[in-house]
């Protein structure tokens, strides 16, 4: 009883967009897809939706192939967002809901509810082109959920949202989760993932490089992170000279270092005490997702690895 992606591969011309990708997403969980641009996230979602067919591999939801289940179980928020520019908001949301078999009256009522919740009830009768990008995105989210889908697939839902709108969308995520929906979304924003997701998968060049619960992923390297701040020494130069310790960040507030697997992070504290430092802060943590990500994929967004066919006029 889950969304099971079983060894799917997909090739576009010379480019291997997905290479033997397998994932298992539990019902009711929030799942994050991480990866650089062109890592294959969008292709994976399109294949789950059966908009694209994989070269090999299968997708199953609750034991049934995605080619056999009703399309109404999916709610989709595409990366290439699009609304009918000249059509008014209410009309097009009702239109999309009708295509999924929702009764027009119910669709209209729920649309107005959601517009209210997103604080844009006055936009119901505006044409989509009159809305700001962030507001269009909220409309797009409503379009994805009006037919009460079991699984929500959202491609970069937070891109381009200001903090207020991002918070509104996170609330909506929470509500969908409370309703028992399964949420899958892709993003570059690691904090959002750490905040919302139970499980993640990091894709790189069409392969899953690491996956699992956020907790397991963060522990997957075996390394731990210590954050140390002492009185009168903001650089803590001696930290790097310790065995199995590697400084990853120096700052005014604290210095961060990674401790190799097998090494006891407590030894850092002991070393500091032995040097007679007056300790302001000492913290042991798992590496952040960002660190994991950089480790597996390299610098975020430094290069665009275009795999899937992409638009020229994005």
């Amino acid at each position: 009883m889950a969304l099971i992606i079983d060894s799917i591969s997909k090739r576009f011309g010379d480019v291997q967009a997905l290479d033997n990708v397998s994932l298992e997403i539990e019902p009711g969980e929030v799942f994050g897809f991480l990866g650089a641009n062109g890592a294959g996230k969008t292709t994976a979602m399109r294949i789950v939706l059966d908009i694209l067919r994989p070269d090999s591999g299968t997708i199953a939801w609750n034991g049934r192939l995605n080619t056999e289940v009703s399309r109404d179980i999916w709610g989709y928020l595409p990366e290439e967002r699009g609304l009918y520019a000249k059509m008014n908001v209410l009309e097009q949301l009702v239109f999309f809901a009708k295509l999924h078999g929702v009764k027009p009256r119910k669709a209209e009522r729920e649309t107005r509810d959601w517009l209210e919740r997103f604080r844009i009830p006055e936009y119901a009768d505006k044409r989509a082109e009159e809305l700001s990008k962030g507001n269009q995105q909220k409309i797009q989210f409503i379009a994805a959920i009006l037919h009460d889908p079991q699984v929500l697939l959202m491609d970069e839902p937070f891109t381009g949202l200001d903090p207020v709108n991002a918070a509104l969308l996170k609330e909506a995520f929470q509500e969908m989760k409370d309703r028992g929906k399964t949420l899958v979304f892709s993003t570059h924003q690691m904090e959002t993932v750490e905040e919302l997701c139970q499980s993640i998968a990091i894709l790189d060049r069409g392969r899953v490089v690491v996956g699992g619960t956020v907790r397991d992923v963060r522990r997957s390297t075996g390394r731990q992170v210590v954050r140390l701040a002492v009185e009168g020494d903001s650089q803590i130069d001696w930290l790097g000279s310790l065995d199995g310790v590697c400084v990853t960040r120096r700052g005014q507030d604290y210095t961060e270092a990674e401790v190799s697997p097998g090494q006891d992070p407590g030894s850092v504290l002991q070393a500091a005490l032995a040097r007679g430092c007056k300790i302001r802060q000492f913290e042991i943590a798992d590496p952040s997702l960002e660190q994991i990500f950089i480790e597996h994929v390299g610098q975020l967004d430094l290069s665009e690895r275009t795999l899937a066919p992409r638009t020229v006029n994005a």
Binding site: R53, E80, A85, L99
Partner: protein, 434 residues
């Protein structure tokens, strides 16, 4: 392709949306109004020409004071006056006869404007020749006066000959022998009949041609627009390509036909109004009935071929439209289709000269060309019922094939964003996608 079973209701929702968004757009409304106005105005051109040419009727009153004029003088005069304009049904002159010759009363009526001109027929006492006096405000060197002058001269000559004991007919008979120039030609009127049918066929072909080009492009535009605005992915999750294809083609087609219907209605209304307007503006009957040459069978054939041809080409337009993601690229993507349409169009225009050639007959069964060529053949009356039926069957088969092909190209093309796609890529994509 499990879309076949579940075409409705989604195809219907999409049809309605497409129709509405098209019909509500400013360009549609403005275009329809302007084109209908132009079409209506165009139908009034003949009235305008008549008006400009001054082809109003001249009411001529004749007072005969001469003794011994021919008994059928009125008939002869009227015939001579109007006969010079035999090519049209238009009667430029209305001749009335003032028996008894109350000249004073006639003069008064002329001054009151009851008629345009007063012709007084006297006999010159010396020469005994007929003498004519024309009283009128019409320009002395105008066409009307000169026509009356010619008719009067002819009458005088006739009268003179009669008094000399002979007639114009007799003189002609002795002086001329009329030899037909082209002895082998058929009845004189068949050539003109052929020409008018030719004109009618050309008109109907142009109507189909224009509709396919204009509204087919609409369909392609609407498909490309959807990709351009990225609604496509949302639609792909909600519907099947077949539902979308059907909705796009029927919705845009219906909007196009609505515009076309309104314009045609303006034309028909204009033609029907020609008579009354002519009456009101020029005070006389218009020349000829507007629908004289239209055979109901041709109209039925036109309707059938129009709808089917339009459907066939619209499907192809939709398929090609799905290959591009920007409206600017639609023109180049659909140019091969445009060529094909032009080929069919020119074939049928040239084919009108040689309707019974084998190539015309063969081509008139090919779905790409049958909307024009079969229509031309029907209009020219060169076709048996079974031939027409066969062409329609072929066209229906063509539509089914176009539907399947278009649905495949469409479902493959819709996801190939951002690139100008070659046919080979599409065929490859069509194999792997739904």
């Amino acid at each position: 392709m499990n879309g076949w079973r579940t075409l409705f209701p989604n195809a219907w929702y999409i049809t309605v949306r497409e129709f509405r968004s098209r019909a509500r757009s400013r360009s549609f409304i403005a275009g329809t109004v302007i084109l209908a106005a132009i079409a209506f105005a165009a139908t009034q051109v003949p009235v305008l020409i008549d008006f400009a040419m001054g082809a109003s009727q001249t009411h001529l009153e004749v007072v005969v004071r001469a003794a011994g004029t021919p008994a059928d003088l009125q008939v002869e005069l009227t015939g001579t006056l109007n006969g010079q304009n035999a090519t049209s049904d238009h009667q430029p002159f209305v001749v009335s006869w003032l028996a008894g010759g109350d000249l004073a009363a006639a003069q008064q009526a002329l001054e009151q404007g009851k008629f345009d001109a007063l012709l007084i027929v006297d006999r010159d006492p010396a020469s005994q020749n007929l003498a004519f006096t024309l009283r009128t405000d019409l320009a002395a060197d105008g066409q009307v006066v000169s026509t009356i002058d010619n008719a009067a001269t002819l009458l005088a000559l006739d009268d003179g000959l009669a008094r000399a004991g002979t007639s114009i007919g007799a003189v002609e008979a002795t002086a001329f022998t009329v030899v037909p120039v082209n002895a082998s030609s058929g009845p004189a009127n068949s050539t003109s009949q052929e020409v008018s049918t030719n004109l009618l066929s050309t008109g109907l072909i142009v109507l189909i041609f224009m509709a396919i080009i204009t509204y087919g492009t609409w369909v392609a535009m609407s498909v490309a627009e959807e990709k351009g605005s990225r609604v496509m992915e949302l639609m792909l999750n909600a519907t099947t390509p077949l539902q979308m294809l059907a909705g796009k083609v029927i919705g845009n087609g219906a909007a196009g036909l609505t515009q076309y219907g309104i314009i045609l209605a303006a034309v028909v209304g204009g033609l029907l109004a020609q008579g009354p307007i002519h009456q009101a503006v020029l005070g006389g009957a218009s020349s000829g009935g507007p629908f004289g040459g239209l055979d109901p069978i041709v109209l039925v054939a036109f309707a059938v071929l129009f709808v089917l041809g339009f459907l066939f080409y619209s499907l192809l337009y939709a398929a090609l439209g799905s290959l591009v993601s920007r409206q600017e690229d639609v023109q180049s993507a659909t140019s091969p289709l445009m060529m094909l349409i032009f080929v069919g169009y020119f074939m049928s225009i040239f084919g009108l000269q040689s309707m019974d050639d084998t190539w015309v007959k063969v081509a008139s069964f090919v779905p790409f060309f049958s909307p024009y060529l079969m229509l031309a053949r029907v209009a020219m009356g060169h076709v048996a019922l079974w031939e027409f039926a066969l062409a329609v069957v072929f066209l229906l088969v063509g539509i089914a094939a176009a539907l399947v092909a278009a649905a495949r190209i469409y479902s493959a093309g819709v996801l190939l964003y951002g690139q100008r796609v070659g046919l080979r890529q599409v065929l490859k994509a069509a194999r792997v996608s739904r």
